[in-house]
């Protein structure tokens, strides 16, 4: 079917077909775009996804709820925190756990917002790289190390934080560490302000991004675009405000929106969201030390037949978990809907039509796609130079130990 379609298209347009992907320097992950070009102008695009399929939903049906906690964390290497939190919320809904301790709520919020900052800095770096501005790429990723440091101070890990569990969180944030964390946050805030200035005023960046990859408000509504991409098109949607979870309705922050609908608006939304996240974090850190030191409540191992839904705002947009239980300790079905799926698959061909090939990487990067990340770990012993792979049970042991 697909081949036939592309053949027909080949006949109708005079140009040529340029395959972008599955392996291409533009992507971090594998995905395929077939570009039908006329000179440098994009006439048509076919999106073929599925190169990173790992069957995680199927795997989840064979493992118990606690094992799935680690699996959910590894769906995405960048949004690992929000995946676990959403999974936990979903299973808590399933179990009927309504109120988790106040301190656990704060710690979860802190993890989510730190992750948002880290993801947005990563986005700025990727975008600068696609623009051919390697310096901004190096600088943003250097500053991203500061968020990673904070996350490491809190959880002991830079990427898979493994903090939330059913009914609360696993580890506490010691009060003694908070002053140092706040100092690092101040630095991040100043850097985010600097990048806001750079991305707003740099002549070349503006030239490459303003008016490119237009995604109108109507279009965004029609195709259910979510997250920062929708907010850059003037839609005031954010799960944190629309369906508040954790502490987001108690904290003082605002939704960042832009009306320009182009790549530049999408960049600026993300930069300003970093500043909003810093604002949320400062409030959280101020209040977390005043809560009582109660980290989690007991959760049952088996779950009665039930179904539940949890929605959160991941750094890239709305993240949805849906679970059905069958009375055992293994879920009947878990469905994950990531924001990239909502943003990319249907809308990319419409957005790219008529654009120049030179603008393609920037437009795609400004949509911030995330297809998946690696699901295996290789450990390198620095002293002996020995390389070994870790299997699931070992990873789980390590996760519990920390």
């Amino acid at each position: 079917m697909n081949e036939k379609k592309s053949q027909n298209r080949k006949e109708t347009c005079k140009g040529y077909v340029l395959p972008i992907g599955p392996q291409h320097p533009m992507y971090v992950e594998a995905e395929n775009l077939m570009l039908h070009l006329d000179g440098e102008t994009i006439v048509d695009v076919e999106v073929n996804i599925g190169y990173m399929h790992r069957g995680i939903e199927e795997l989840m049906q064979r493992r118990n709820y606690i094992q799935n906690l680690y699996l959910a964390e590894r769906i995405c290497g960048i949004c690992s925190g929000v995946h676990t939190v959403t999974y936990c919320q979903c299973i808590e809904n399933l179990m009927g756990i309504e109120n988790i301790p106040e301190r656990a709520k704060y710690i979860r919020t802190i993890i989510l917002e730190l992750e948002r900052i880290h993801s947005h800095f990563l986005f700025l770096g990727v975008l600068a790289y696609e623009l051919g501005l390697d310096t901004a790429f190096m600088y943003t990723w250097r500053d991203r190390e500061y968020v990673m440091d904070i996350l490491e101070m809190i959880s002991g890990n830079r990427v898979n934080y493994s903090m939330p569990t059913f009914g609360g969180v696993k580890r506490d944030i010691p009060d003694s560490k908070i002053p140092e964390i706040l100092k690092k946050l101040d630095y991040l805030e100043s850097r985010a302000k600097y990048y806001a200035k750079v991305f707003h005023s740099d002549m070349l960046i503006r030239k490459r991004t303003t008016g490119k990859g237009k995604l109108s408000k109507n279009f965004a509504e029609k195709y259910s675009i979510v997250g920062p991409v929708a907010r850059a098109s003037g839609l005031k949607i954010d799960v944190r405000k629309d369906m508040p979870y954790l502490l987001y309705d108690e904290l003082d922050w605002r939704i960042v929106t832009k009306r320009e609908c182009d790549s530049h608006a999408r960049i600026m939304v993300k930069v300003y969201e970093i500043l909003e996240s810093v604002r949320i974090l400062k409030q959280c850190f101020r209040k977390v030390s005043k809560t009582e030191k109660n980290l989690k409540i007991k959760a049952p191992l088996r779950v009665e037949p039930n179904e539940a839904l949890a929605v959160t705002e991941a750094p890239r947009g709305e993240l949805l978990y849906y679970a059905i239980s069958n009375g055992t300790d293994v879920p009947e079905r878990i469905r994950v809907r990531t924001p990239t799926f909502a943003n990319i698959v249907k809308s990319i061909p419409e957005i790219l039509k008529g654009e120049q090939l030179g603008d393609l990487p920037v437009i795609i990067a400004s949509m911030d796609p995330c297809f998946s990340c690696c699901d295996r770990i290789t450990l390198l012993d620095v002293n002996t130079g020995e390389v070994k792979s870790l299997d699931g049970s070992e990873l789980r042991r390590m996760g519990e130990r920390k």
């Binding site: 040529y16 077909v17 340029l18 395959p19 291409h24 320097p25 533009m26 440098e40 600068a128 790289y129 696609e130 623009l131 051919g132 501005l133 390697d134 310096t135 901004a136 190096m138 600088y139 250097r142 740099d202 070349l204 960046i205 030239k207 490459r208 120049q356 090939l357 030179g358 603008d359 393609l360 990487p361």
Partner: protein, 295 residues
């Protein structure tokens, strides 16, 4: 004579220095980008490694695939040897038109190598390269003509020695010097002009298909182009050079300027690059009018 053309300051010296310059350029931009960067000998390692690699030839490749990289390398090398290096011209004095001819032919041969490899990415890269060429040759040639008219001679050696007496052309013709600098950035394809090899869009551009010895030749051509343009820049705008030490110091300053502009700018789109280059072509025209009316 043979020593002068082959060893010092001839082919051997030029190849050595051009690779070293590329290494320094990489190191400088790395430090500016807050990275450690590769060692300055990295280009040597790369070239030596590539020379030992297997040579893969795609089935669809056309005849020129085999020889265009070598022709490109040789013609850019010749243009290097026609520039005054520390007061002497390794191949003996010849006029500027030959020098520019070999330089342009070198770039053209690179793009032809892209066309002959029959890879869609390479073809897009080569088309972009040729389009960009139409852009950058204009300011380049205009700025060179300004200096030639001011000197009243067509020989690079004369332009070189004229400046030691009458002062730097970079100061007397700042617009032409600026246009020259912009065209240098475009010619050596560093940001913001790395459009023909924009790897986020078209993998490696015109040399996507190349491996082994031929890729080494293409990399060497890039380095030699950098050397040739720095050498021309010193001879035509930056006061010329009477000794090799002066040459090296001035080329370090130019390398610093190139790496500075390399790290602060994003990539142009091809149509933006054209417009930008042509604007600087007309900027250089200001000096052309000045030199026609006053000198």
């Amino acid at each position: 004579m043979i020593f002068e053309s082959m060893i010092y300051p001839g082919a051997f010296f030029v190849v050595f220095m051009s690779l070293l310059y590329s290494g320094i350029l990489r190191k400088l931009s790395a430090r500016m980008q807050h990275r450690i960067g590769p060692p300055i000998w990295q280009q040597f390692f790369d070239i030596i490694k590539l020379l030992h690699k297997e040579d893969i030839r795609p089935e669809q490749a056309k005849m020129g695939y085999t020889f265009w990289p070598f022709i490109a390398m040789i013609s850019v090398l010749i243009s290097c040897l026609l520039t005054p290096i520390g007061g002497t011209i390794p191949l003996g004095s010849s006029d500027t038109i030959i020098l520019i001819y070999f330089l342009i032919f070198g770039s053209l041969a690179l793009y032809l190598s892209g066309f002959s490899s029959s890879n869609p990415f390479a073809v897009v890269g080569a088309v972009r390269g040729v389009i960009q060429m139409i852009g950058y040759e204009f300011p380049f040639v205009v700025s060179i003509i300004v200096t030639l008219l001011a000197t009243g001679s067509i020989f690079p050696a004369d332009v070189n020695s004229y400046q030691t007496v009458h002062g730097w052309f970079a100061f007397s013709f700042p617009f032409a010097a600026l246009a020259y600098f912009i065209s240098v950035l475009a010619k050596i394809e560093v940001p913001p002009f790395h459009i023909p090899e924009a790897h986020q869009e078209i993998v490696s551009g015109y040399y996507t298909e190349y491996t082994g010895t031929r890729l080494a030749m293409i990399m060497l051509t890039h380095s030699l182009k950098l050397f040739a343009l720095i050498s021309i820049g010193i001879a035509f705008f930056f006061g010329g050079s009477t000794s090799i030490l002066e040459f090296l110091i001035k080329s370090m300053i130019l390398l610093f300027l190139i790496s500075l502009s390399r790290v602060v700018m994003a990539r142009f789109r091809i149509d933006h690059a054209m417009r930008f280059c042509w604007i600087f072509g007309f900027v250089a025209f200001i000096d052309l009018i000045r030199v026609c009316s006053f000198f």
